[in-house]
C-alpha cells in the first residue's frame, strides 16, 4: 500500500509567515495603503478556517480519489517523468477548474471568497475557501486519477502548485524578464486576475503556467498606466468572516427562492451576474460596455 506523501504546504507555512512579515516592512516604507490590519486578519482567518475544513473532509476526498483510482485506465509509475507530467497536467486541471470557478456561479460561490479582499498582498493568498468540498471543486482532478496518476502523487503536486501561487500575490514585484513572463504565472499576471477593472475581468486563470491562458484565449497583459482596483465587482464593504465565506451561497439561495421556475437553474450554472431579466451584469457585459465607452471617447476626441 502506498503511503500518502506529507503535505508540502505544511512545511511552507513558516516561510509564508516570514514573507508576509517582510512584505509588511516593505509596505511601511513604500506604500502603507497596501496593507490593512483587519483585511489581513480576515484573510488569514479564512486561511485557518480553510485548513480546518480541509482536515474535516480529507478522509472523504481520499476515499473518493481512491475509488476512482481503482478503476484507472493505466498505472502511471512514481518515476521522475511521471511526476513532471503529473505536475503539468495538474496545472492544466487547475486552469480548467479555475476558469469554471469564475464562469459557473456554483463554483464561483466557493471561490469568490479569495477575491473579496480589496488589497493585493501575500496575506491575500491565504484568503481561501471554507466550502471547497461542498462545491465539489475536487472533481476537476478526478480525470487525472482515472487516467492513472496515484492520488498521493496528484495531491502532492497540487500542494506544490499552491505553494507557487502564494508568492505571486504581491505588488512588491513589478515584472520579470520577458521569457519568464511568457511561460510562468507571475505577480503581474495575477494582479490582472484579481482586478475588477473591466479590461481585466475573468482573465489569467493560471496556477503555475500562464501558457494555458495564452493557448485558450484568456490572457491579458497588465497595463502600466491603469491603476488596478482589487476585489469583486460589488465590493462586500465588510470584514465579517461569515459574510466573506457564505455571501454568494446566500445569494444563490435567495435567487433560487425568488426566480421563476424556468429560470431557477440559471442562477446556479450560468456566470456570476447573470439574471433572467437582465437586471444585473456579468463580466462580459461590463467589459462590453467599457469597450463601447472607450470607442465613443476615442471617436469624440479625434
Amino acid at each position: 500500500m502506498i503511503e500518502k506523501f506529507p503535505n508540502p504546504v505544511d512545511y511552507a507555512v513558516p516561510i509564508f509567515i516570514l514573507l508576509i512579515f517582510l512584505e509588511m516592512i516593505w509596505a511601511k516604507r513604500r506604500a502603507p495603503e497596501k496593507y490593512e490590519p483587519r483585511d489581513t486578519l480576515t484573510s488569514m482567518a479564512m486561511g485557518l478556517g480553510s485548513t480546518v475544513a480541509g482536515v474535516l473532509v480529507a478522509g472523504s476526498v481520499w476515499a473518493i480519489a481512491m475509488a476512482v483510482y481503482a478503476d484507472r485506465l493505466m498505472t502511471l509509475p512514481f518515476a521522475l517523468w511521471a511526476w513532471v507530467l503529473c505536475f503539468v497536467l495538474d496545472d492544466l486541471a487547475y486552469y480548467v477548474f479555475h476558469r469554471s470557478a469564475h464562469r459557473v456561479r456554483w463554483f464561483w460561490a466557493s471561490h469568490v471568497n479569495h477575491h473579496t479582499s480589496q488589497h493585493y498582498n501575500l496575506s491575500t493568498a491565504l484568503r481561501q475557501t471554507w466550502t471547497g468540498f461542498i462545491s465539489l471543486g475536487f472533481i476537476f482532478r478526478l480525470p487525472l486519477i482515472w487516467l492513472g496518476f496515484h492520488p498521493a502523487m496528484l495531491f502532492f503536486c497540487g500542494g506544490l502548485n499552491l505553494i507557487y501561487q502564494f508568492w505571486i500575490h504581491t505588488e512588491a514585484v513589478d515584472r520579470f524578464p520577458r521569457w519568464f513572463e511568457a511561460v510562468m504565472n507571475t505577480p503581474s499576471h495575477h494582479r490582472v486576475h484579481h482586478a475588477t477593472n473591466p479590461r481585466y475581468l475573468d482573465r489569467n486563470y493560471a496556477g503555475v503556467f500562464i501558457i494555458w491562458d495564452r493557448m485558450f484565449g484568456t490572457f491579458t497583459q497588465e497595463v502600466a498606466d491603469e491603476p488596478i482596483r482589487y476585489g469583486i465587482v460589488k465590493q462586500l464593504g465588510s470584514f465579517n468572516l461569515f459574510w466573506v465565506s457564505f455571501h454568494e451561497w446566500i445569494g444563490i439561495a435567495r435567487d433560487l427562492w425568488s426566480a421563476p421556475w424556468q429560470h431557477k437553474l440559471g442562477y446556479v450554472w450560468r456566470p456570476p451576474g447573470w439574471s433572467h431579466d437582465g437586471s444585473r451584469e456579468t463580466s462580459d457585459m461590463i467589459r462590453k460596455k467599457w469597450q463601447e465607452r472607450q470607442a465613443w471617447t476615442r471617436s469624440t476626441s479625434s
Binding site: 509567515i17 509588511m24 496593507y35 482567518a45 480546518v52 464593504g237 470584514f239
Partner: protein, 133 residues
C-alpha cells in the same frame, strides 16, 4: 490529534501576531476623498462608467454622495484603507440629523454610512427619500 491542535494553535497565534504587527506599523490608514475629481475617480472604480453630475463630499473627506444624469445615486465611504460604495435603491434608509445624513443601503453587512454634508444634507435627504417612494 494533539499535534493538529498544536499546529492550529500556533497558526492562530501567528495570525494574531501578524495582524497586530500590521496595526503597530500603522499600515492602512483610512483614505480621504480630496475633491470632486477624486470622488469621480473613485466612483468610476466602484461603478465603471458612473459619471456624476452632482457630488457632495463629506466635510471631513470620509466619503461622498453622488448622482448621475439618469438619477442613480451612489455613496462611497472608506472601507479599511480603500473605498467601498453602493448604488442606492428604493430600500435605502435615510436619517437626517441637522448636517449629518446617515444612509443605510439595503445590505446588512455593508452597514450604514454617515456623512457630514453641511447645508447639503437636507437636499440629499429629500433626493434619497424620493428614490425610496
Amino acid at each position: 490529534m494533539m499535534l493538529l491542535l498544536a499546529k492550529l494553535g500556533a497558526s492562530l497565534a501567528a495570525i494574531l501576531a501578524l495582524a497586530g504587527f500590521a496595526k503597530w506599523l500603522g499600515l492602512g490608514r483610512p483614505p480621504r476623498v480630496q475633491d470632486a475629481a477624486d470622488a469621480k475617480r473613485v466612483a468610476d472604480m466602484i461603478v465603471p462608467g458612473f459619471e456624476p453630475v452632482e457630488i457632495t463630499l463629506d466635510r471631513a473627506g470620509s466619503g461622498a454622495l453622488m448622482r448621475d444624469a439618469s438619477g442613480r445615486c451612489l455613496l462611497i465611504r472608506p472601507h479599511g484603507a480603500t473605498f467601498a460604495g453602493r448604488l442606492l435603491d428604493t430600500a435605502t434608509k435615510v436619517d437626517l440629523d441637522k448636517d449629518v445624513l446617515t444612509v443605510t443601503p439595503n445590505d446588512r453587512f455593508f452597514g450604514p454610512a454617515r456623512f457630514d454634508l453641511g447645508q447639503q444634507a437636507a437636499n440629499w435627504a429629500k433626493v434619497l427619500r424620493m428614490q425610496s417612494r
